[in-house]
């Protein structure tokens, strides 16, 4: 039983990480129906920017004197940086293809993904970089079960962001414009919504979330690497689709399910096949519900 609970905690943390990335994925998808392969790279760029800033602060001696202020500052700067990066990528690589075939867009995104991860490698080197994780590595124990503060923070953060994003999308003017842009770009421009701006904004928010996830995983796992974005990117994509792509709550649910399946697959069956279980569950769900768990039955021509 303890074993089960411990694994459950592991699963929900991993699921939280996937969900954090998937949230950004699904937002971008929701607005322009693009499988943004570069999203994993935004995640990695966020992780790197975090480590660069924190290392600088450590070197300059600020981190010792004001640890939490520094972490918060680094977080804000990292998210801003990554949002800026995403907006640039969108402007350069995706905007010219707004009315082109979706496959062209997909290849452009793939190109960007390769470009960005290699750019990170060239500028930051091939070695993994350590996070100053001493600050956040504490935890507490409930009986035989140990829980890390960071696990709590990751799960809490995911929940808070889920609520926040839902409010943003469903309760605000900007969110309404986002949904309108997602449904009909021409009509939304006829009601004076600048779809280019909304799309840029969505990319910025999505990348900000990815950067946040990148820093969290940096703290949680202790290091970042230039190619860290690829596998979580694919998993997050799977999570987003599993939950019904374009749906924020669905992305969260999908992330948690994939995380859980992986952890329990590894815990009770075999570690080497855990990704297989995750994908099989995903395929099975999609087979019975082809639009994902929370997906709406959108009309055929638009899927």
């Amino acid at each position: 039983m303890e074993y089960f609970i411990q694994q459950f905690i592991n699963g929900i943390t991993l699921g939280g990480v996937y969900a954090l990335i998937a949230l950004g994925y699904t937002m971008v998808y929701g607005v322009i129906q693009l499988i943004n392969f570069a999203h994993g790279e935004f995640f990695a760029a966020g992780g790197y920017m975090g480590v660069i800033l924190l290392a600088y602060m450590t070197g300059a001696g600020y981190l010792e004197t004001h640890p939490f202020l520094c972490i918060a500052g680094a977080g804000v700067l990292t998210m801003a940086y990554t949002a800026f990066l995403a907006m640039g990528v969108e402007r350069m690589a995706y905007k010219p293809l707004r009315y082109a075939s979706r496959l062209s867009l997909l290849v452009s995104a793939l190109g960007m993904s390769i470009f960005l991860s290699n750019g990170l490698m060239l500028t930051q080197g091939v070695f993994d970089k350590p996070y100053p994780s001493e600050l956040t590595h504490g935890g507490f124990e409930i009986g035989p079960i140990s829980v890390g503060y960071l696990q709590v923070i990751i799960v809490g953060m995911t929940a808070v962001l889920l609520v926040g994003l839902n409010i943003l999308v469903f309760k605000t003017r900007i969110g309404m414009a986002m949904r309108a842009t997602a449904q009909d770009k021409i009509m939304s421009s006829l009601v004076s919504i600048s779809s280019n701006r909304i799309i840029a904004l969505t990319f910025a928010i999505g990348a900000g979330l990815a950067a946040c996830a990148g820093m969290m995983t940096g703290f949680y796992y202790g290091s970042v690497r230039y190619d860290m974005g690829f596998v979580p990117g694919i998993k997050a994509f799977a999570a987003a689709v599993l939950g019904g792509i374009g749906n924020i709550t669905g992305a969260m649910l999908g992330g948690v399910i994939i995380g859980m399946v992986e952890v329990f697959g590894a815990a009770y069956i075999s570690g080497q096949y855990k990704d297989v279980f995750a994908f099989i569950i995903m395929i099975a769900v999609l087979y019975f519900k082809p639009t994902g768990i929370m997906g709406e039955n959108v009309d055929d021509t638009r899927v």
């Binding site: 990066l85 707004r98 997909l106 290699n118």
Partner: protein
């Protein structure tokens, strides 16, 4: 000229400033608590200079200041294509084939190796084209069929000693079977749901290859696969068959050439057949196709199976050439690469795909000298080519708007 300058200048300057803002933190913030500027500026200046030359040429061209060079070039181009037009297409194909046939005689090992890669990927690209270009289904796990083909021959050969030529049909059939298995549950899905499911299947196949130790020897791969062989009639010491293994690279080149030509002819035939038209109708509008009496279920399955057949053939050849297979050759990146070739070249256009394959195989080899910058350049080139030629290098003539893209 001034007007063009103004129009271009603002985004250009903004873009460069943006780049600087993104680049500097990566190069200028150091873990010892210091900041530096020189390094980032230097890199940035290089990029800015190159970008400036490109933009300058663009502006010149736009404003007509390059006419003195562009006009004769256009005339020349016109004359050449006119002259080329006078020679019938068959002659061109003959010429091309002739060149392909003498290619190993005039080149070294390395060029032949690259050419073999090109030919293998032509098979893969054209096979994937059946699924994506003709039937209009996005497949991100295509490389799995390649893996099935490769492992089929590897296992048949190492376990039962079956020769390459006898294994080919087995590899094709097994790959087609895998195509049906993957195709079946995905038939109800469309668009991006299909994409992730095929991606998932691709990963599953790779992970199984990597983990099923008793069958595939896992990550160690399978060693000691026989290269393709021929039986020759031999007369010394009475009539007997001589078994000759084709280890030399240029023999392998010819086999690859044969496979590629076979694939090109087959795909071309399919493209203009009844089935090809039915696939196109599914691509353009699945619901309408169904209403017109097209059996979309069977045809979509057939598209997967046919696409898989060519990948299976290519895979069998791949393992025969390498004499070694391991799961590392069948990763998602490989699927993405084949997809990029198809889209880059121009979906549903055979010459386009061939050109796309050449671009993506030859480019990294050209950049091989630059080592670290190689993949950076390849990634950048993919995006740039898409931005400037979104329909591919040689777009197909028969492609209409796909139903899923009508919205824009």
């Amino acid at each position: 000229m001034i007007r063009e300058c103004k129009k271009v200048l603002k985004p250009f300057v903004l873009g460069l400033l943006w780049l600087l803002a993104l680049l500097w933190p990566l190069l200028g913030i150091h873990p010892d608590g210091t900041l530096s500027f020189a390094n980032a500026f230097q890199v940035w200046l290089y990029i800015a200079a190159v970008a400036f030359v490109c933009v300058f040429l663009y502006v010149l061209n736009k404003s007509g200041n390059l006419d003195f060079a562009a006009r004769p070039a256009a005339v020349l181009h016109g004359r050449v294509s006119e002259a080329a037009g006078r020679i019938p297409a068959k002659a061109w194909i003959g010429l091309l084939l002739g060149f392909a046939l003498i290619y190993p005689q005039i080149t070294g090992r390395y060029e032949q190796d690259v050419a073999i890669n090109v030919l293998i990927y032509i098979c893969l690209g054209l096979g994937l084209n059946i699924v994506i270009g003709l039937a209009g289904m996005l497949d991100l796990g295509y490389i799995a069929f390649y893996g099935v083909g490769a492992y089929s021959y590897a296992l048949l050969n190492t376990n039962f000693g079956i020769s390459f030529w006898f294994s080919l049909p087995f590899a094709a059939v097994l790959a087609a079977l895998a195509g049906c298995i993957i195709g079946y549950p995905t038939l109800r899905m469309r668009g991006d749901y299909l994409a992730i499911v095929t991606l998932g299947f691709g990963e599953i196949v790779r992970l199984i290859l990597n983990n099923w130790m008793t069958l595939t020897n896992g990550p160690n791969g399978i060693l000691g696969i026989d290269p393709p062989s021929f039986y020759f009639l031999s007369f010394d010491g009475g009539l007997s068959f001589e078994h000759l293994y084709l280890k030399k690279l240029h023999y392998l080149y010819y086999i690859a050439l044969f496979l590629a030509v076979f694939t090109i002819i087959a795909v071309r035939r399919l493209n203009f057949s009844r089935i090809g038209r039915a696939w196109e109708s599914i691509r353009e509008d699945e619901t309408a196709a169904e209403l017109m009496g097209v059996n979309t279920f069977l045809l979509k399955l057939l598209a997967y199976a046919m696409g898989a057949v060519f990948a299976g053939l290519a895979g069998a050849f791949f393992s025969a050439r390498m004499r070694f297979v391991s799961p590392e050759s069948f990763t998602f990146l490989e699927s993405a690469l084949v997809l990029a070739m198809v889209v880059l070249g121009g979906m549903a256009s055979i010459p386009g795909i061939i050109l796309g394959v050449m671009a993506l195989i030859v480019l990294p080899e050209v950049f091989r000298e630059f080592e670290l910058y190689r993949m950076l350049a390849v990634g950048g080139a993919m995006t740039v080519m898409m931005v400037f030629k979104p329909r591919g290098l040689i777009p197909a003539k028969r492609v209409g708007t796909r139903s899923e893209e009508k919205e824009g």
